[in-house]
């Protein structure tokens, strides 16, 4: 929590005024019964009507003033807590936008969303409660004890003894239930996990007639939850009776003190006041116990937020603008690359040179290192040995790098908005004519025309209203629009049928001034590239044309045969 305090700085004023107003309101409320007692003693007993009216008006005035002060407090609290939350969210989002690919591997989108959303809200609520309540409860407790002490020092000792008992009860309560709540949370995650599997696997479940089995599994998880909740509720049901017992025991002790003081009796008024204060203390402490729950939740959330804040955001001072070698588009020699925190290297002893305007195929099984190679080429993960036009990729200024090299990733990510807006991501300056040209080359022109809205076509979040193949083609069009010197297709044709795949590659052939790196698992997609790199377990195990590799590279031949492709390229 402490680390988040600086974010409250802009709201220093609110954090001071708010509690101060609350304090005044509590003070007025504390005095009210005393004035009432005064009115009765002075007014009624002495038969003075004017005193009754004066004090009556004074009390109404006090109640109203107290209300005004509490309004100011609530207002300050809303400004400070909402402002704090808004700043926090902005700050986190801005930071996440600067996360490196390595950081993104570590934090899933779900957890990031949860932290920006839910966790910030928890802390925001805690800030509001801190301003609104945190000052009130302790003040009432201390104030009541103080007033009691003025009335009768010895009797006040009984009250003072009761307070630690109640505090201990509340402390034990939260100590005992917190782990139970944690277990509950785990069981809850499990339940949701099974539920999600059930929702996603419905076809298989139905096909295997396993509805009953799955229902039972879900039911057991739900039962588990119920058992855990019952355990918690048994404990929490004790809280109220026990605190009541303590405070009532205090009242009985106070009365007993009164009885023992006979015949020299403690005045009745004092006893009544003490009983009143005891009840007030109880109420204030119970309110505090609710605060404790809010604060313990908030501190768990703060921990999760801090984890994000602790991530060092990369700032590069790479500023190179010029290529040093216009002919060698990409090259490296004996490159080795290990993912951060990984035990074994993912790329081992990689050497190759890709010339300007060449078309290079990269093939290999899953986990052979193809996508890692692409990520290193793109400088997603820093690797100084990878040379782009003669210079290490890491040396280029970010905007220049984007002009030199583009990747069309395996996962097709489109954003909600119009088709045009999506294409503009590729190149903010592209004209409509250029967009249509890119769509034509990406084999997307036909289905866009059929849909009838042209570039104004609405795309839903993640491109949900399009098929996998359509999304992929739009992503290719977006990448082509960038018109970078080098373009990497990372398995970008996987969702296309063979006919579209072939037509697309034919259209790409029109781009003579573009270096293409095509990564695929299908031989048919890459077999007629200028050269093919064959990857296996992080190594390049073959390099050459289809015919050459078919004869010389065992891995390549195996892949070809499994896909019914012969040396001549025809089955």
């Amino acid at each position: 929590m402490k680390k988040l305090l600086p974010y409250l700085k802009p709201y220093k004023k609110q954090c001071l005024i708010g509690p101060l107003c609350k304090w005044i309101e509590a003070l007025l409320e504390l005095i009210l019964p005393t004035i009432m007692a005064f009115m009765i003693d002075q007014g009624v007993l002495k038969q003075d009507r004017s005193i009754v009216f004066t004090y009556g008006i004074l009390m109404i005035f006090m109640v109203f003033i107290g209300f005004c002060f509490s309004l100011i407090c609530q207002y300050q609290a809303s400004i400070a807590s909402q402002g704090f939350g808004t700043d926090m969210r902005n700050h986190l989002f801005e930071r996440i936008m600067r996360f490196s690919f390595e950081d993104l591997d570590r934090f899933s989108p779900a957890t990031l969303l949860n932290r920006i959303g839910n966790d910030v809200n928890q802390v925001q609520l805690a800030v509001a409660m801190l301003i609104r309540l945190a000052i009130r409860a302790p003040f009432i407790v201390i104030g009541s004890v103080f007033m009691a002490m003025i009335l009768d020092m010895e009797l006040a000792l009984i009250l003072l003894a009761a307070i630690p008992l109640i505090v201990l009860t509340l402390y034990l309560y939260s100590r005992i239930t917190t782990p139970y709540y944690q277990i509950y949370q785990e069981k809850f995650d499990r339940f949701l996990n099974i539920l999600e599997q059930n929702l996603n696997g419905v076809r298989v479940i139905r096909a295997f007639l396993s509805q009953a089995v799955e229902s039972k599994r879900l039911d057991e998880a739900s039962m588990d939850l119920q058992v855990q909740m019952t355990r918690i509720s048994r404990i929490s049901a004790l809280l109220n009776p026990i605190t009541a017992l303590i405070i009532n025991a205090t009242i009985i002790l106070l009365l007993a003190a009164g009885i023992l003081s006979l015949p020299d009796a403690i005045p009745a008024g004092t006893l009544i006041a003490f009983i009143n204060y005891a009840t007030q203390i109880l109420l204030a402490l119970v309110a505090t116990s609710n605060l404790i729950v809010i604060f313990s939740k908030a501190s768990a959330s703060a921990r999760r937020i801090n984890e994000l804040l602790a991530v060092e955001v990369m700032t590069t001072n790479a500023q190179a603008h010029e290529k040093t070698d216009a002919q060698h588009a990409l090259s490296c020699s004996h490159l080795q690359f290990t993912y951060p925190h990984a035990a074994h290297p993912s790329l081992i002893d990689i050497s190759f040179t890709i010339h300007k305007n060449e078309t290079i195929g990269v093939i290999g099984g899953t986990g052979s290192g193809k996508s890692t190679l692409a990520a290193v080429m793109m400088n997603f993960y820093p690797c100084a040995e990878m040379k782009l036009f003669g210079r290490s990729v890491a040396e280029y200024d970010a905007t220049i790098l984007q002009r030199l090299i583009t990747l069309i990733p395996q996962k097709n990510e489109l954003f909600s908005g119009t088709l045009k807006e999506n294409l503009l991501y590729g190149n903010p300056l592209a004209s409509e004519a250029e967009m249509w040209e890119a769509l034509r080359q990406a084999q997307a022109e036909d289905f866009i025309t059929v849909k009838g809205d042209g570039l104004a076509l609405r795309i839903e979040a993640g491109g949900k209203n399009l098929s996998g193949g359509q999304r992929q083609r739009l992503c290719i069009a977006r990448g082509l629009l960038r018109q970078s010197d080098i373009i990497i297709f990372d398995d970008s044709f996987s969702a296309l049928d063979f006919e579209t795949d072939a037509k697309l590659r034919q259209a790409l052939g029109e781009h003579h001034d573009m270096t293409k790196v095509i990564i695929s698992q299908r031989v048919a997609t890459i077999w007629n590239s200028d050269r093919i790199l064959v990857m296996d377990q992080g190594h390049i195990v073959g390099e050459g044309t289809h015919q050459e590799l078919f004869d010389s590279c065992v891995v390549y031949r195996e892949i070809c045969l499994s896909q019914n492709i012969a040396k001549e390229g025809i089955a």
């Binding site: 009754v52 609530q74 400004i79 402002g83 936008m97 089995v213 229902s215 048994r234 009541a244 009365l255």
Partner: protein, 576 residues
Amino acid sequence: MNIQKILQRMLADIRHFRFAFLCSLVFAIAATLLNLYAPLCIGTIIDRITAQKTPADIFSQSFLLIIVYLLYSLTIWGMMLATNHIAYSFGYAMRTALIKKLEKLPVSFYDTQDHGDLMTRFSNDVDLMADGLLQGLSTLLSGIVTVIAAIAFMFSINLTMTIIVILCTPLTFLVGKIIAQRSHKYFVAQANDLGHLNAHTQEMLHGLRTLKIYGQEAAAYQKFQSLNQTLYQSGQKSQFYGSLVNPSTRLVTNMAYTIVGVSGAILALSQRISIGNISSFLLYSNQFSKPFNEISGVMTQLQSAMASAQRVFALLDTGEESSADSGTITSVCGHISFSHVSFGYDPYHLLMQDLCLDIPAGSRIAIVGRTGAGKTTFINLLMRFYELNSGVITLDGTDITKMSREDLRCHFGMVLQDTFLGEDSIYQIIAYGKKNATKEEIIQAAKQSGAHEFIKKLPQGYDTQLNSNSFLSQGQRQLLSITRVMLMDPAILILDEATSNMDTRSEAHVNAAMEKLMQGKTCFVIAHRLSTIIDSDRILVMEQGSIIEQGTHEELLTKQGAYASLYNSQFIHPTK
């Protein structure tokens, strides 16, 4: 569904907890009466102390007070236990009903509903319902009893004062209502703004890698900031107005306290009541207004409980799959025919029209076509995941709608692209389709499929527990799902893109296993890779829901139609 109906339904569901309900009612009444009686006791003791009575006299009264307090703690404990029991059992019962419902919902429901939203209904909504019920019940119960008892006690003392108290306190209610009405629009605005912000955040986080490739982070941040600012506006207002409820009710309570005190004093001046009566009334006026405060606080909670109940009930009321009598066919040979079948996911937009097809038992059918051509639809109809709009599909001459879904589906084995294994031991996972299989049978099936090799090497062999972040490769998972089908030994097989997520080497293993599996069965194979398709007895080429060509590989190639162009396109060179 209106609020009254929802409430009625919730109450109907609570009926199952009649005993607990009765207990909590009895305890609530007892606790409240004890709580109201204690001040009278204290008053008497104080009076006797003041009157300097003998200790013995006072002790009997003190002993009574101790009993009252002990009983009070016991009764509120009992009340908490009973209401907790009702609320959590209710939540559990709701969840169970929802789980039961899942079994019966049609597959189309799963396909069209947002899974995140469904999961919210199982978790958040049920919890809110149970919490609302818990809070609502205990607050209402003790509130009503307190109000009635306090009125009775007050009447016994003085009529005029009672009327003043009764007139003052419901003001709280009114104030709360006015604030709720005013703040409602800000709460709605806040919920909407939050939804927009979350949607944007989620989308940007999921697409962050793409954003970074195209250097669009700044634009995303800018939009986030503006949405966040809008949220700040509505959030600040709704929080402020929402937080007014507490001070406002305190204002009314304190006003009532003052008015009762002053009017009591005036009445006392004319000797109509005693000073002791004033203090009693001050006490009772607080007791009397407290439930109103609490009820107005619980109102918001009840409102969200109602909203959640509506969502839960809506799910419970969703139409179910129709069911037919079971037990018509025990074994089949796998002869399937489609006659004049028409179907569309949207009844006004037919995808498949007048499809006729006869598939003899034991033949291998490959289905090819572009994405969206209707291959998966074909399977959906065959397995009765969806119902036909018109026409008939028969299995061994029996209309499949005349069989129960269970009877139909037990003749099918499916291997899909996404392997669904669940969390269990390898034994259990393989026995998924045949629960009574012996260990020998299971191992036998694994040996046949070739899965035995890698299972053997697992730390606990067949007893190894799999979970969601399992260490198995895609190929190994697929081998397990094939073994599962092998054990079931169904008459008909469906293989839907079973190897498309796999690298070529694992694919070779899986293909070998599938080849064994397919022997002697009617098979439907959907694949992207034409190599898997060439050996089929018949190839169906689909486009826009209809079959545009069918025949063997050779026949279709000589036809030079759609299949031939699809097949040849595998080998077109871009520069040729």
